[in-house]
Symmetry: D2
């Protein structure tokens, strides 16, 4: 039973496909990684303003400042702000997004009673150097990233565009709708740094149905579904950077120093060695270590980049303090000190309300798409949307995480990643709209 309103909306979306492609590629070219998204945000804000949304919440107002995680230093923030201006940030809006406040929220209020529907799309790029050769379409066609070491390598350029087009379409048919529609354009999803800072403002507390969207490649085993739905519980996640401070000295007389290299080795062995417990499965990874200076100098500085994941909240609650205890004491063993910085985190929460998700699967098929639950073994994306889903569910709402599937030129995060047929963004907009109509009874 496809509603007439849906049909009109879908047609409208198709008519805007070229704009979507163009907008996506613009974001792709001026890729901004986490907390850098000044230009991106300014364009979104300008766009939403021009649409005439009922409420626009920009920058600082989207965040509890101290809940943000993994911010770059001020120098870097200043530098990218300047760059954003040079690269076409909308001057009226750019200042809202200075200093790591790169979020946009919008509300379309029909004025008629009805449910509150939320859409979350993330907007940030990744710390990847995009391939610069002709075999890579974005380069060949001139929209490869011009920002070295920043790349839209996980499709968030498409997500942002999908959010914008969803808003545009809802605005267009606003008078035929009821309820409220809330849009979140989230920074810093990579590294799960951005969401936590956004949930404390109250914005999410009245949302009845919340949806997030992510691109997902077609593959050999599952070549043709349009959508997957996750039905997932997120692994809890703590991303720690550890800095060890010892004392350097000549290696011929190490008694005058404090050896941070030994502390580091004890930490690696210690935290991997935390006994597996019955509180839930977990993962531990020390992904990176940079330690020491010269060959014949006792190492005095170490940076360790690590990640703890727990299948349950209890699992991370066991792991994280244990790891912190190990880090402190391993440092102290060798007369060093340790500084631990929490760079990102996700709670272990349900991000898909099963009944809501069941309905959306059915709906997707009903309107002519092929949709399935995500197959067993779909990479557990530790998306910090979990914070938002949890907030909504804790306040009595429901949540669903949707993958729109399309051909990709290379795996996520690869330097040659691209969305081959970027017009497929339209189907993501359509499922958002269909869901919204169903929720508000149209």
């Amino acid at each position: 039973m496809v509603s007439e309103l849906y049909k009109k909306m879908a047609e409208y979306v198709d008519s805007r496909a070229d704009w979507m492609v163009e907008n996506r590629r613009d974001f792709h070219k001026y890729a901004e990684s986490g907390w850098h998204e000044v230009r991106t945000c300014s364009i979104i804000a300008d766009f939403l303003t021009k649409l005439g949304v009922d409420e626009l919440i920009l920058g600082k107002d989207c965040f509890i400042a101290e809940d943000r995680m993994g911010l770059p230093d001020q120098e870097e923030l200043d530098m990218v702000y300047e760059r954003a201006l040079e690269q076409g940030a909308v001057p009226e809006f750019a200042p809202f997004f200075k200093d790591g406040f790169t979020g946009v929220e919008a509300i379309i209020d029909t004025g008629k009673p009805g449910p509150v529907v939320g859409f979350r799309t993330d907007i940030d790029g990744l710390g990847v150097f995009e391939a610069q050769d002709d075999s890579h379409k974005p380069f060949r066609e001139g929209f490869a990233s011009v920002n070295p070491g920043e790349m839209q390598a996980c499709g968030h350029d498409s997500h942002a565009t999908i959010g914008m087009m969803t808003a545009e379409t809802i605005m267009k048919y606003k008078d035929q709708l009821c309820g409220k529609f809330k849009f979140v354009f989230q920074p810093g999803e990579e590294g799960v740094r951005g969401a936590r800072g956004m949930i404390g403002t109250g914005f999410f507390d009245d949302i009845d149905y919340m949806m997030a969207m992510h691109v997902m490649p077609l593959n050999k085993d599952f070549p043709d579904e349009d959508f997957w739905f996750q039905y997932k519980t997120c692994m809890a996640n703590a991303k720690l950077d550890v800095y060890l401070y010892g004392k350097a000295c000549h290696a011929a007389a190490p008694e005058s120093g404090n050896n941070a290299m030994l502390a580091m080795a004890a930490i690696v062995q210690g935290i991997y060695g935390i006994p597996r417990a019955s509180v839930g499965d977990a993962r531990i990874n020390v992904g990176q270590v940079i330690a020491g200076s010269g060959r014949n100098v006792v190492c005095d500085r170490v940076k360790m980049v690590m990640e703890l994941r727990g299948l349950t909240a209890a699992s991370l609650d066991y792991l994280e303090p244990y790891a912190r205890r190990i880090i402190e004491h391993a440092a102290a063993m060798h007369g060093c000190t340790a500084e631990i910085r929490l760079m990102g985190a996700t709670p272990a929460v349900v991000i898909d309300s099963p009944d809501f998700t069941d309905e959306l699967v059915a709906l997707a098929n009903e309107i002519g798409f092929k949709a399935l639950p995500a197959p067993e073994g779909t990479k557990p994306t530790s998306d910090d949307y979990a914070y938002m889903a949890d907030r909504v569910i804790q306040h009595g709402g429901k949540s669903c995480y949707i993958f729109y599937r399309t051909e990709e030129a290379a795996p996520h995060h690869a330097t040659t990643f691209d969305i081959t047929n970027d017009k497929d963004m339209t189907k993501a907009v359509k499922i958002f709209l269909a869901a919204a109509l169903k929720i508000v009874g149209k």
Copy 2:
């Protein structure tokens, strides 16, 4: 130029060879290990009393009680005291040696001016189960240890006897001598536990020339010297027992426990890994670990037996606090606590005054023995005589450590150790006497 007095003394010693053998074998049969030597001490005290030495210092008066190290617990001390009485301890003297005060000191004062000469002989057995079969002479001839797990496996039974006979001979010729002669019968040399407790009483402070004696086997490369002289600097030494206390629980749910096994592994790796420093060479050994109970129980109890040695005092001063810091923090890493017990120690000190030792080497050859400096590589015996030598030298005296060499049935500490020709004890007495005569100018 062998003096007449020496000749008479030497003859007298030879005439007492059978008694020496008998006495040695009696001590061998009733072997008493460190701080158990109640029977041994009571017999020595009785013997010296009968000789009529001028001063006898017994038990508590030989020690600064709290400086003793590595004492057994009270229950064990009580038990061995009872055993000593049953095995023929001299009842008048035994009570002096209760509760871990198993030392005897004696002074023979000629009343004439002259130097003070000290003799140190140790008296304790080892924690070894003596071989109980007919191929082992002590067993065959009925003087193998009757105390299970205690054995005179390093020849201290002979040392004690040598000390006694030296005293007897000096008493016999006392009127032809001058100066003073001081005798120390030291407990607990094994594990270097006994000497430290004896040096604080002042007994050593006026000694001008101090000598210690140890048996040393003949060997293929050096088949025939009667004596070796050490010329040695002792390695500093700290013997630590470490107890780790965690919390046991079922291995299926280790989060309810505290894993002392992991703490132990971190300690082993940590302390071996203390960086080699420029403060002097060192040695580290974790000799024994007893950890845990059942296979599926999280380990909550660990005993570690370790030893730190430094070629210099500075080296041990670097190692020991570092090791203690590692132990504490490695325990804390896993929520465990550590208790560290100092079971024995030796300072890094010179134990041979080179000029005095040179004289004794010459003297030994002069009176017809074959004597040499100990060859390079003679096992560094970490004898806690070092405490005494250091005390004497600090107060202006000189020290020498002498090995008397004779055939041994098996290596030191072996269950089949024996001094094959135990009449060779006489030569040890003779070198003591010759040295004494030379020192006092007779």
Copy 3:
């Protein structure tokens, strides 16, 4: 719908309660731990012979010899064989059980077509010293273990008796039954050593319905169910003993040795540190380490007692080879060699067929007992019955693991464990019989 036959059988069982108590206590008094159960087996064999079961399979015929795990050494086996004879083993049967072949299997064949029903009861005691004081009923009443360090501390004495009485009752009513009944009296369940050796003979391959029984205490939260049914998947389990062989030498010159202590520490840290994988949750425990000899001797011998568990077969398949690789290379790092002995193992298998178990829960309630699925968190008993269950299920049969619940004087494995009301064994026999009747349609 309780059948008449069941009622008669249940009455008969009640009439034999005193014998059951007496037999249980006899087994309790002459407790025999894993692979020692010569006396126990001989009594069971004699009992079954007297019953006139149709087939009796004894000792060697019950096993694939090389599949047995965790056998004591021959000297111990010889010693306990002699002891069994002295303690009243039935002389005609004892020889069957020499040398670690302490199993009994029996078949009652009604000669009429019908399903094959299997009963498994284990018979071994534990390595525990039973409390020897009057507050402990078995001691007070004279049936505490007379075998030091062996105790029926987990109720297997009752299991064996239940198996015997089930056989007796079935024999008594054999002519009213159809199908076949197979009984397994399994040794060495503690340490999961005995079952693996029994499954290769074909005995289990035709069993349609297999049941195992274990005692389980009443507790505060669940004070009154008669039975719990597990519905469980067993954790895969590998019990490894690791022996490290280095080379001892004096700690002052460690270059002449090979330090097995360091290898041990690297193993502990290495295997706990195996990265948590996505193949299933797991557990790792190094429960015991005995390492080294003297303080100043480089450690040359280590025994490590460890256990690896995987929630899935894949998990153990990942862990075990990884652990073995670590052990070998950690030994090699320090010039040592490692010997790894598999002391026990359980596969990760389903041990309860849900539909069969559902039926038994219903049945138990129907005949007047209170029965429930075991509550969440019932200790995962790593019972090596898993091998048998898996064998049966692989051959198309079904399996169920039943707990009969009764008051216990102390927790399983405690030195004061006892089954307070040992007449409650009758209810275990009754559920076995009721199940058998239901299965064969009577």
Copy 4:
């Protein structure tokens, strides 16, 4: 007894002080670190050619190619070759020094019988970014390094100049001399990479007296000696770079990877933990570790930069194979492979022949300088001149290592290092000349 010839030579040297300063500063400005010294060598070669030395050995002919250590990769070598040409390398000579053959040797043969005297001066800069501010004289006066990350921060620019001026003076007075004079301009002393490759050609085998020169700062405790003489035994030294190769994968499923991070930690703990042995004191330092890529990627690549030192050859002979064994097996523990590259090495050898050195100390004082043996605790400079000294001594010659002392602006290797009064180079030339005269009897 200062000879007339010496006086004339000394005057000549003084007259050339300005040239020396200019030349030193030119080398300083165009600093070339180890194996980069193309420009430096070409200028030296040109200079010596113009002097008319009797034999000039350039580039490849100075080396056994495969004995060189720690070479940069070819790309780097090519790049610095181009740079050298751009920065004024002498075009006729530059090609000799391509591809890491940056050494020059020269022979002045008087044609008259007499001893063979060798002079070694090293020429390389360090991997240091020179301070670029006006408080730093070289910057202020325009001779700070123009090569980023390369700096003459240890005075080798002065050494090279000293060698050149020594040759010039000897050439000038050649007809008044006898014997032969050999000059070695050595690359890559920093990191002890260059000397080993030069000793296999036979050049050193006939040298009777060999001298090396190094600058050494005046300091508070020793404010005014002109020269120190080392009298030193060099610590044996092995500089290893270790590359670990594992397999990267997502940290959520580490079973598909091989974790090189864990291997690294085991190596750090393992090699620091090598037991201290009785073969000589040692040092171990892991100075640098670069490991891994992303936080949630299992680490597959590690670079470790380490150094092993032994006070004796036996000590390094013990340490190095032990460390290699640990590295290999620690890698294998985690399914990784290890590649070990020897980046530099020094043997444990005597570098000062005591009698020759005694003579030079006396001589220095005789000709009006203040000279002493280097005080206890002079930093053990692990100069790979040790290879040359050893070669000379093994062939019956003698060696001496001389420090010329002068004020320095900052410690060796600091970014603000400078030789404040660079005319003091003249005294280094004078002691070389005085020694040469004494050796050849003039």
